[in-house]
């Protein structure tokens, strides 16, 4: 019998083109997603060196980061020009580069357009057992399908375009096992926030994490995507969830997924991928589902996680002096006083969206709380930004858009939106936002913006209460 292997080892081994003496491997890349922000300099580099794209058929381009989320077509069905000249220039560059290099491009007014990490799985472009890269750190998201997916920089984008490979060294492996049963009001987002709190922002450094255990097995694919999406927030290179029947049912019939005889062959292969009994990880962390509450961040690092029932910590309570210093700075930026109950913190803005939480199940969970309710008067701005045009259509078919607009939310076009302060959707300086995105860094949602990361249901609850709230008090 061959040595038992982990899911990560199996995917890695299946993609080695060449191995150098020092252990560095040339790894084949099965899927490359391209967006407007991290690609212009890569295409420029190719052009300057007279190089072509080796495998345009394995590459898919879609704009998301820069696009305004307001209406894209005027009343005559004509595209509305983008006001910001720099954004417009970056989007035009992608629109030009994709056809020039023979790459499939989904344009801003196509119903298939959306956030790269929502589009890939939705189109069946992202598949189990594949290697997937994108010039974006949340590429780890696709690991929810059992793909080895990770973010790369622009030089690597250029490298993949030119060679369809990357020079990589193998990461260490970590198992994060979540066992038990989730308590009421606890979603996949709370699980991953909790994991980030336990591991710390650098806890997964140098590792690829496989999320296992009964909690992960019981999650839908969308929930698994949410978990793996934030692998990078605890420092991991990538996240993985073993593909199973739930995964196969999710992929079947998607436009770019295998069909017919290819489908059967693919499933047969995917079934061989799960970690073998007896395989070992470099590190194992166990988490009890009973310890996970609806969670919220208080600071400016995603590791600053508390249950919603918690209180703002006192920086001097941290053992590590540099963490004390960081916590002091965080509280200063966040305008919070130690000892304040999290549920006493008022919010002025609500953002439901981002590649972490903008899929249909996320919108359903938020709508469930908002049904028949209205946002509080002190909430000035509340927006829902579906992850793709198809999610938007589906939500409208289910009548969710009406629930949101009746509650006082704006219903937007798909894109990254207020997840990062790059397009027009920003949180004003000094104001707070309950946000379903993945980063609460200083200035992430706009200069001076104060972010509290939460699940979609918790964001909806915060909108109704006008402050951070325990969703369990509002559950229908």
């Amino acid at each position: 019998m061959s040595t038992p292997q982990t899911l990560y080892e199996k995917i890695w081994n299946a993609h080695v083109v060449e191995q150098r003496d020092d252990g560095t491997c040339l790894i084949f890349i099965d899927r490359h997603l391209v967006h407007e922000v991290t690609s212009p300099q890569a295409f420029e580099g190719l052009r300057a060196a007279g190089r072509r794209v080796r495998r345009p058929d394995l590459t898919l381009a879609v704009p998301d980061h820069n696009l305004p989320t307001t209406a894209r077509l005027d009343s005559h069905g004509q595209p509305i020009p983008i006001a910001d000249p720099e954004s417009a220039q970056q989007l035009e560059a992608l629109e030009r580069n994709a056809p020039e290099f023979g790459i499939k491009y989904i344009n801003a007014t196509d119903a298939k357009q959306g956030i790269v990490h929502v589009v890939g799985p939705e189109q069946g472009f992202s598949l189990p057992g594949t290697t997937i890269v994108c010039g974006d750190s949340h590429t780890a998201c696709h690991g929810g399908l059992g793909a080895l997916a990770f973010g790369i920089g622009t030089s690597e984008v250029e490298h993949v375009l030119a060679t369809q490979t990357l020079q990589l060294t193998r990461s260490k492996s970590m198992e994060v096992r979540v066992e038990g049963e989730l308590r009421a009001g606890v979603s996949a987002k709370d699980v991953v926030l909790h994991i980030t709190g336990v591991l710390g922002a650098a806890g997964g450094s140098g590792h690829v994490i496989e999320y296992t255990g009964s909690v992960i097995r019981a999650l839908s694919v969308e929930g698994r995507l949410t978990i793996s999406n934030m692998a990078i927030e605890h420092g991991a290179r990538a996240g993985l969830v073993a593909p199973d029947d739930t995964t196969f049912a999710y992929i079947k019939g998607r436009p770019m997924a295998p069909s017919g005889a290819n489908w059967d062959a693919a499933v047969a292969y995917w079934r061989t991928l799960a970690t073998d009994p007896g395989a070992t990880y470099d590190k194992v962390v166990s988490i009890d589902a009973a310890d996970i509450a609806p969670s919220v961040t208080w600071g400016t690092s995603p590791e600053d996680v508390l249950p919603i029932t918690g209180i703002v910590p006192d920086p001097s309570a941290f053992a590590d002096p540099s963490k004390q210093e960081a916590a002091r700075k965080s509280l200063d930026y966040m305008g919070l006083t130690p000892g304040t109950r999290m549920t006493d913190i008022e919010v002025q803005n609500i953002f439901i969206g981002s590649c972490t939480n903008s899929r249909i199940e996320d919108l359903r969970a938020a709508a469930e709380i908002l049904k028949g309710r209205k946002k509080a008067a002190n909430v000035k701005w509340a927006i829902v930004v579906p992850g793709s045009g198809l999610v938007k259509q589906q939500a409208e078919d289910e009548g969710l858009d009406r629930i949101f607009t009746d509650a006082g939310f704006e219903w937007r076009e798909p894109g990254c939106s207020a997840c990062l302060g790059m397009n027009p959707d920003k949180v004003p300086a000094g104001e707070r936002c309950a946000s379903t995105s993945n980063r609460n860094f200083v200035g992430r949602q706009g200069p001076g913006a104060r972010t509290h990361l939460v699940s979609p249901a918790m964001a909806a609850a915060a909108a109704v209460a006008g402050k951070l709230t325990d969703v369990r008090a509002l559950a229908n």
């Binding site: 970056q90 499939k104 622009t154 990078i232 770019m256 690092s301």
Partner: protein, 197 residues
């Protein structure tokens, strides 16, 4: 990539932990289609604080930056490395780096040097008044005093940095091996070819 083997000069003693990519270069600066000119936006939020080291004439033009754990965590934006290079920084010394940042730094000939916290503490002290010297060949960081700290670096990366190797050019030499792999892949896993949409 430009060749680099030695960095010498003053160092910005920043010291903070978890300096993320939004601190290095905020998203609003990413709307560019060029690699140059990002130094203007580098460390914007730190520079907003009066008396910050970046605007202190004492450190003007410093080629080195000293930071705490997990430097460059967050996004994959290579703009972080470009912005630092544009600011004139050639090396960062920290107890640890995010994986993506250290890759991006390497691709741009920016040294990301890992030293233990005790060495960082000492260098932070020295940096306030004296130059720091980094030698990639001997893998050492030294000060005008007796300090001598050795650091590890992947031998392949060291070779590429010292010789300014074009990594894509290097990989393209393996084109035949890639073609062999691709042929085997379409035979073994034909379902990998995406259905055109």
């Amino acid at each position: 990539m430009k060749a680099i083997s030695r960095v010498e000069g003053r160092a910005y003693p920043v010291g903070l932990k978890n300096i993320d990519t939004d601190v290095i270069i905020p998203a609003v600066w990413l709307k560019t289609i060029s690699r140059a000119g990002l130094g203007k936006g580098a460390f914007e939020s730190l520079r907003a604080v009066p008396g910050n080291v970046f605007d202190d004439p004492e450190y003007a033009g410093a080629p080195i930056l000293i930071a705490g754990d997990n430097f460059g965590c967050g996004s994959s934006r290579e703009h972080a490395a470009w912005a630092m290079a544009d600011l004139g920084i050639s090396a960062v010394i920290a107890p640890s780096f995010s994986d993506i940042f250290s890759g991006n730094a390497f691709k741009n000939g920016l040294l990301a040097i890992v030293l233990p916290q005790a060495a960082i503490d000492r260098l932070m002290e020295v940096a306030r008044t004296y130059d720091i010297h980094i030698d990639l060949e001997t893998q050492t960081v030294t000060t005008p005093f007796q300090d001598r700290f050795e650091f590890e670096i992947d031998p392949f990366r060291k070779h590429c940095l010292i010789n300014g190797v074009d990594e894509i050019g290097l990989t393209l030499k393996s084109s035949d091996a890639i073609s062999v792999y691709e042929a085997k892949l379409s035979a073994d896993r034909p379902w990998l070819a995406p259905n055109p949409v």
